[in-house]
Amino acid sequence: MDNTVVVYERPHNRNIRGVYISRKFALSIAQEVNTPNITNIDTVIEANFAPNVSTTAREYRTETRTVGSDWNQVAVYGRDSLAAVTRTRFQELAARWHADTGGISAPSRIVSHDAYLQIISMGLDALPLILEDLRKNGGYWYPALRVITGAWPVPAEARGKPRLMKEAWFLWAREERGYDI
């Protein structure tokens, strides 16, 4: 099964956040849980009941079956679906962040919100989603964009002017990343 993503949850170890793990570890898990029909695993997401990942996993669950003493296989889906999982997780976090901080002006309080930090921790996977949300909903995404990309394409005269900062970031995304935005 090429381009397969397998999501597992570990019912006895629920305090670990969901993470992407290595191909080697993925294959070792596949061996451990005796799923010989899965021969080409690209990624295994170790999922548990941490709020965001587990919600995502449950939404995409196709079946749950016990496949070993420590692991439950939650879902099997293709690589395109991994992008869907990322998008769903991002949208959940972004919605919570907008709701909790949209009425706040102090920048340090906006960027220290837990959901914002989780989005930054998604790294470049979150970049196109942040830009899309910035265009659609606005918001103080600029520190996250700076941290994730290491870039600062905003000219001095645009500093603090959201309309101009958005234009600068969208231009950068088109030219440097080839995004259609």
């Binding site: 709701a99 901080t101 949209g102 009425g103 002006s105 102090a106 103080y140 600062w152 002017k161």
Partner: protein, 153 residues
């Protein structure tokens, strides 16, 4: 009369359906500090790379002192009391234990005008305290006033 959504009102303990009204659509083009300063195309905050700050206005050691300097740069002076005074307009700077949170502008009617955060609507509220409290913008740390020069609707 349009009010903030119930969800947004829950973020401000003192807001009720009867003490405020929405006066603009939501937008992220400006924040409360800029709105009280008289501009609606920039987010103002001192010492932040992706925020604007007027050239020539000193950035003080504390954010509150910086905001006082900001409004002083356009003629406001520190004042006592938020009651309407003939011939004056006022700004109120809010904060809590972590620092400044908000600024509101007094209208000629005696009501106050606030841009709610970076993303929400502008509202008119009947007292400064309507957007104070916790949850909310805390308390008024400083009132400033200047002779009213602009014509208002």
């Amino acid at each position: 009369m349009v009010t903030l959504s119930a969800e947004r009102m829950r973020a401000h303990v003192n807001l009720t359906e009867h003490n405020h009204r929405v006066t603009s659509d939501e937008c992220d083009e400006y924040n409360c500090i800029a709105w009280a300063f008289g501009i609606n195309d920039a987010q103002l905050w001192p010492g932040i790379i992706d925020m604007d700050w007027p050239e020539g206005v000193p950035i003080a050691e504390s954010e509150l002192e910086s905001f006082i300097a900001l409004y002083a740069s356009i003629g406001y002076e520190q004042s006592e009391g938020s009651d309407l005074e003939d011939g004056y307009e006022k700004v109120a700077i809010y904060g809590d234990g972590e620092g400044p949170t908000h600024a509101a502008l007094q209208l000629a009617s005696g009501d106050w005008s606030s841009k709610m955060g970076m993303e929400w609507e502008d509202i008119a509220h009947d007292t400064p305290e309507a957007v104070g409290g916790r949850p909310g913008y805390g308390r008024v740390l400083q009132v400033m006033r200047r002779p009213r020069v602009a014509q208002e609707a």
